[in-house]
Amino acid sequence: MSTLTIIYAGLFYIATLLLVVGLAYKIFDYSRTPAPLKIPTTPAPVTQTGVVYRMAKEVVLFESLFKSSKWTWIFGWLFHFGLLLVLARHLRYFTEPVWFWVNIVQPFGKYASIMMVVGLAGLLARRFLVDRVRYISTPSDYLMLVLLIVIGSSGMLMTFVAHTDIVALKTFFMGLMYFDVQPVPQDPILLIHLALVALLMLIFPISKLLHAPGLFFSPTRNQVDNPREHRHVAAWAARLDQKN
C-alpha cells in the first residue's frame, strides 16, 4: 500500500469520525440547553404542524432570506441546491448497486455544479462589493467560500475536462467503507479535490457551517405560538416556583 493511500485513507477516517462525533455533540448540546421562554418571531404558527411548515419553508426556500435580500437569496439558494444535487450525484461512488433515484439525479447533478459555483462566486463578490458585508467579513468567511469554490471547480474539471478514473475512485471509497483499503487513484486534481473535502468535513463542526443544525434549534423559528394556552417552563426556572 502506498504512503499516499495510507494518508488519504487515514484522512477520510479521521474526517468522518470528527464530523460525526462533532456534529452529534453539537446537536446533543443544543438539545440539552433549555429555551426557558417563548420567543417565536411572530406572526408564528399556533400548531406544531404549522411549525413544521414554517421550518420547511425556511429550509427549502430560505423564506426569511428571500424577504431580506434578493441577491443573497438567489446566490445562496443556487449554491445550496446545486450542492444538494451534486452530493446526491456523488452517492453513486458509495453505493453498489447504485440506488435508482441516484441514477435519475445523476445528469442533473452534473450541471448543478455550475449552479453551485456561480452561487458561490456571487456570494464572494458580495463580500467584496457591498460595504456593509465587507465590514462584517472575517478571513474565514472569504476562505470558506474559496474552499468551496475550489472543491466545486476541481470537481467540474474532472467531470467536464480531464476525466479521472471513476472506477478506481469508487473502489477506493467502497474499500474504505468495508475496511478493506484499496489504492487511491493518483490524479493530482482528484487528490486536491479529496483533500479539500476532508478539510471541509473537519471544520464543519467547529465553524459557521453549524448554521445547518442550528436552524432546527432556533427558538424564534421552531416554537409554537401558544403561550396563553400552554405553560412553558424550563427545568431550572421551574425550581423558582417552588420557592414561593
Binding site: 420567543i39 406572526p43 430560505f62 458585508v133 478571513p139 427558538p219 416556583d241 414561593n244
Partner: protein, 507 residues
Amino acid sequence: MAAAEFDIPEIKDYIEVPKLREGAMAHAKTFLAPKPVQDFMGYPHELADDWKESALEKMGDLLGKYRSLKVFLDACVHCGACTDKCHYYLGTSDPKNMPVARQDLMRQVYRRYFTTAGKLFPKLVGAKDLTKDVLNDWYNYYHQCSECRRCSVFCPYGIDTAEITMAGREILNHIGMGQKYSNEILGKVQKIGNNLGLPGPALLDTLEGLEEDIEADTGVAVKLPIDVKGAEVLLVTPSADFFSEPHVESLIGYAKVFHAAGTSWTLSTHASEAGNFGLFNGNYETMRKVAMRIRDAALELGVKRIVVGECGHAWRVAYSFWNTLTGIGYGADDPFSIELQKQLDPNYPQPQHICELTNDLIKSGKIKVDPSKNDDLIVTYHDSCNVARASRMGTEPGGQFIIPRELIKSVVNNFHNMADDTIYESTFCCGGGGGLLTDDLMEVRVKGALPRATALNNVVKEHQVNFMATICAICKAQFTKVLPKYGFDMSMVGGVHQLVAKAIILD
C-alpha cells in the same frame, strides 16, 4: 448638564441605506447606574479586579441556560441579510449598529473563549480577547439596541439580536456596569409598585381627578376604581397612563369601555405597572419578580380576568411570558399554576389585551360607537415592535396587526396604512424602546426614529394624515418628544383608546 449637540437627520422621500461611517455613534454612552441603584439590584457598581473572569463566567452560565444564545452565537454566517434592517443603523450609519456587527461584539469573545476554532486561530475567525475596549463597545452598543426584533424577521436562521443584547446587559450588570435609567426604574417598580414611582395616595388622587374631568366632559359618572376586591377584571396598564400625555387619554378610553359594557373592573396599587424592564436587562429572575406583583394582586383581589393596557413590551411579557413566569394563563397542572387558574374565567384568554376586549365588545354590539366623532382626524397606525414581532392578539397568527386596525376603523372614518415595508412584521421601532427612553440617549433616539418619521412623512404628504395611533407607552413618550425634531406636531401621536374614548357612546 447640557445635551450633546447633534444634527437632526433630513427626511428623504424613502428610507435610504447609508454608507458606513465607522465610529459615528461611539460617543453615545448612557449613564452608568450609581452605587445605591446597583446595590438594590444586587449588582456591583464598579469593575472589580477579576471583572474579566467574572464576565466570562457569567457568559458561560447564560450559554448553559439559554439555547437561543448558544445557537445564535454559533449559527451566523455573516451573510449580511440583516445589515440594512436596524433603524439605528439606518439613522446613524455606524456599522456597529448593524445587527450582525452588534452580535459580533459578543460573538468575537464567544469564539475566543468558548470555541475550538477561536482558541486555535483567533485572527482567522475574528475572535478577540475580552478587553476594556471590547467591554466599552458592549456597553455603548448594547444600549443602542431597542430589542425590537426586526432583524430576527429577516435572518435566515431567525437570529434575534435582542437575545444577544439582553445577555450583554446581563453580563454588564453582573460585573458592575448597569444602566442608570433601566435599573432605577426596576428599583422603583419593586419598591413602590410602578415605574414612575407613584405612591398609592398620589395614584388615588389622580384617578379621582380624572373621574371629575370625565364627568365634567361627558355628564356621565365614569369610575376609575382601584383595589376593589371581587371586581371581575384587573386592568394592568403602564404607569405612564396615569400621568403622562397623551397616555392618560387612553386610560380614559379604557374606563369608558368598561363603563359602557357594564363590566366591573379595578386597577391595583400593588400592580400599578404593566411595564417590566426586567425584559430589557435579560434577567429572568428580575423579570419574574416584577411580573409576580400582578399574580399577587390578582389573587388578593380575587379577579376573574386580567386585562393589559396599551404597552408594547408589557404585552410581550404578559402574552408570551406571564404564564411561564407567574402562571397567569392556562394549560398547567402544577399547584403553583392551579392556584390562580381555578380563579380565572376560562371563557376569556388570560391575559387579554385591551384591544382584544374592546374590539370584541364593539363587534358584538355590546358597546356603541360613533366614528364621525373622529372625523377631524386622518389616522395611521404604528405597529409597536413587541406587539408585532413578539406577541399575538386573537386566535389567528397576525391578529396583532388585524385587531388594532379593526378597532381603529370602527371608531374613525379615515384610515391609511404606512408603506408595507414599515408596518406589520416589518414595522420600525419608535427608536426609544428596550430601555433607551432616557435623555442621555437622545441622539440615539432621534436618529433611530428616522425610518418611522420617513414613513409617516409619506402618508402625511400623500393622505394628509394628522394622527398616528399606537398602543405602546414608550412609543407615545418617544414620538411626542422626538417627532417635533422632524417638524411634526407632538399632538399627532396618541393611543388607540384615545380614539375609542372620543367615539364611544355613553348612556
